[in-house]
């Protein structure tokens, strides 16, 4: 009897989930512990259940597969399963176990499961020893991968316990560094994301988000004016009256952008 393998299926199409369930039924030890039909649900259930393996669709309502992965900590083993072949490279960049192209047969899934078991066995064997493991890609790397090269994030996904927030980039007023977190100020509320300020800022449109200070990145569309308080001491006043400190180099960057 092989090791038990707890699996969560994530696909917005019921027939696709039914197929996976049917195929998995033939594998001893594999147990489907949850089926999710959208990204929000997937983040919640996977966090609760801590499965060994997630079989994940890419295009789904609310969050796509890569965004789901970005919000999971720790990250389970993942097999992507989609009709689109263009995400394959990105999938391997985020250390996916396998990439199944719909439609696929029993054997193909069996191969993927074997790989997943191998990966999991390696991990558990390694865990006590101090063999260095390849570091898992960071959240920022995942987010970058999800977008594809050369594109800017149009939204930021944030997890707050069981709740997931999707913040459209153009609704963000400013970002503020807070220790290991970034506070994302959007519409009068602040959301914390476990990421460095530069990583998050890098993912956003550089024509809109400017590092005005070591700890602040402002959405230039929210800046009403720049005020000079003393020599080389400036603040950016936002439309809602809030003030952000502006460093000398931040001021240079603003000038360059706003001309």
């Amino acid at each position: 009897m092989p090791e038990p393998l707890r699996v969560v299926l994530v696909d917005d199409e019921a027939p696709a989930r039914a197929l996976l369930r049917e195929y998995l039924g033939a594998h001893d030890g594999a147990e489907v512990v949850a089926e999710c039909a959208n990204g929000f649900d997937a983040v919640k259930r996977i966090s609760e259940l801590q499965p060994d393996l997630v079989i994940l669709d890419v295009q789904m309502p609310k969050l796509d597969g890569f965004e789901v992965l970005e919000l999971l900590e720790p990250r389970p083993a993942v097999i992507f399963c989609t009709a689109y072949d263009e995400y394959a490279l990105q999938a391997f960049e985020v250390h996916a176990v396998d990439y199944l192209l719909k439609p696929f047969g029993r054997e193909r899934l069996a191969d993927a499961l074997d790989r997943a078991r191998e990966r999991l066995a390696m991990k558990s064997k390694r865990a006590p020893a101090d063999t260095p493991q390849p570091p898992a890609p960071s959240g920022a790397a995942l987010a970058r991968t999800a977008r594809g090269p050369g594109k800017h994030a149009e939204r930021i996904v944030v997890r707050d316990g069981a709740q997931v927030h999707v913040l459209p980039a153009d609704h963000v007023d400013y970002l503020e560094a807070q220790d290991d977190y970034v506070a994302i100020h959007s519409g009068g509320k602040a959301h914390l994301k476990h990421q460095t300020l530069s990583e998050l800022a890098e993912s956003l449109d550089p024509d809109r988000f400017v590092r005005v200070h070591r700890s602040f990145v402002a959405n230039v569309e929210r800046i009403a004016r720049i005020e000079l308080l003393a020599k080389d001491q400036r603040v950016a006043v936002l439309h809602d009256g809030r003030q952000l400190p502006v460093s000398r180099s931040g001021h240079e960057r603003l000038k360059e952008l706003l001309g």
Binding site: E13, P15, L19, E22, A83, K102, P103, E154, R155, V166
Partner: protein, 357 residues
């Protein structure tokens, strides 16, 4: 900018021709009031060359006063009045010129002879300007017909291109892959449904090829194709996909380009239903109003969905095909209102010929 100004060789040719005209003018003046050739030529040739440049101004006038079929007296009177003025300007220049060369070549002529010269100048200046205007009108007409020809050709190429692209988009491989995956799933759980889906998919593909090979189809036929498409997607999306239809029988018999509606419905699923957790309702409306056929495809939009990626190209494709099909009366408008996205097609309501199929 005048087309001649960019071509020095042609300008030179024009100046040379003007110089010949100048010789003729000199001869006329010499006949009128005898004088040495040198004096006549020194007066007439430079003036004629200068005037040839001045009458190029007819170009701007001709463009401002196009010769249209109906009220052609208006540009005509305008041109004559400009001719009178232009010639007057020429005479003024001629006066200065005669004074300038008076000392060494003109001395032996009487004052009245000089006036006679200027009068000849004025009389000659008017038809010369009008000739220039005529030549410019000819040039503009030639250019316009050239342009029209080019535009017709371009429209044809655009239409063909759009046709090809639409056909290629029709066989969207992801739609096929996902459908095959659904069939794969059904084979285990509900073989009868799997058979029905194979049949539906085959029917949809066959109809796509049949409609795509025609220049125009009835909206009813196009809607039939859309129904088959929706039937297949229904298996994938189940209860998440709901459809409302409001189609006037009169509208259903109108002529439309083939495969125009199906991409819109595909977009409605891809960028609407697929992004919504609980799915939603796609609404398809068609009605005839005041000689125009109006078709609306509306879908829900999830608030968290990023702005509609990749859809611009699809809509642009439909827009271009529509414009090629219905010329000025056809257009596409689209926009988001609240949480629904709506595409409206407007085209002339023409009855479709009965298909010979």
């Amino acid at each position: 900018m005048h087309p001649l100004l960019a071509r020095p060789a042609r300008l030179l040719l024009m100046a040379a021709t003007a110089a010949l005209f100048g010789v003729a003018l000199a001869w006329v003046l010499k006949l009128l009031n005898p004088r040495p050739w040198s004096a006549a030529l020194a007066f007439a040739v430079p003036l004629m060359v200068i005037y040839s440049f001045i009458v190029l101004s007819a170009w701007w006038m001709c463009r401002r006063q196009p010769m249209t079929g109906t009220a052609s007296w208006r540009p005509l009177t305008a041109q004559v009045s400009v001719a009178l003025q232009t010639s007057a300007v020429w005479v003024a220049i001629g006066t200065f010129w005669s004074v300038a060369i008076d000392k060494w070549l003109y001395a032996e002529l009487s004052r009245s002879a000089i006036f006679a010269d200027l009068a000849v100048l004025y009389v000659a200046g008017i038809p010369i300007y009008l000739m220039s205007a005529g030549a410019h009108y000819l040039y503009l007409a030639f250019e316009a017909s050239h342009e029209a020809e080019r535009r017709v050709l371009e429209t044809e190429v655009t239409a063909r291109e759009a046709e090809l692209r639409a056909l290629r988009a029709q066989l969207n491989p992801h739609f096929l892959f996902n459908s095959l995956n659904s069939i794969n799933a059904l084979v285990g759980s509900d073989p009868e449904a799997a058979r029905r889906m194979c049949e539906g998919l085959g029917d949809f593909l066959r109809r796509t090829l049949a409609l795509g090979s025609r220049d125009a189809v009835s909206l009813g036929e196009e809607l039939g194709l859309v129904e088959r498409y929706l039937g297949i997607e229904q298996v994938r999306f189940g209860e998440r996909l709901r459809v409302e239809r409001a189609v006037d029988p009169e509208a259903a018999s109108c002529r439309v380009p083939p495969l125009l509606l199906q991409p819109l419905v595909e977009n409605a699923i891809k960028h609407g239903i697929q992004d919504c957790v609980d799915g939603g309702t796609i609404r398809i409306e068609a009605r005839c109003e005041a000689g125009l056929l109006r078709v609306v495809v509306e879908n829900p939009v999830d608030e968290d969905a990023p702005s509609r990626r990749g859809e611009g190209v699809g809509l642009e494709n439909v827009r271009r095909r529509l414009e090629v099909f219905g010329a000025r009366d056809a257009h596409l408008s689209s926009g988001k209102r609240g949480n629904r996205f709506r595409v409206t097609l407007t085209l002339p309501a023409l009855a479709a010929e009965v298909a010979h199929a």
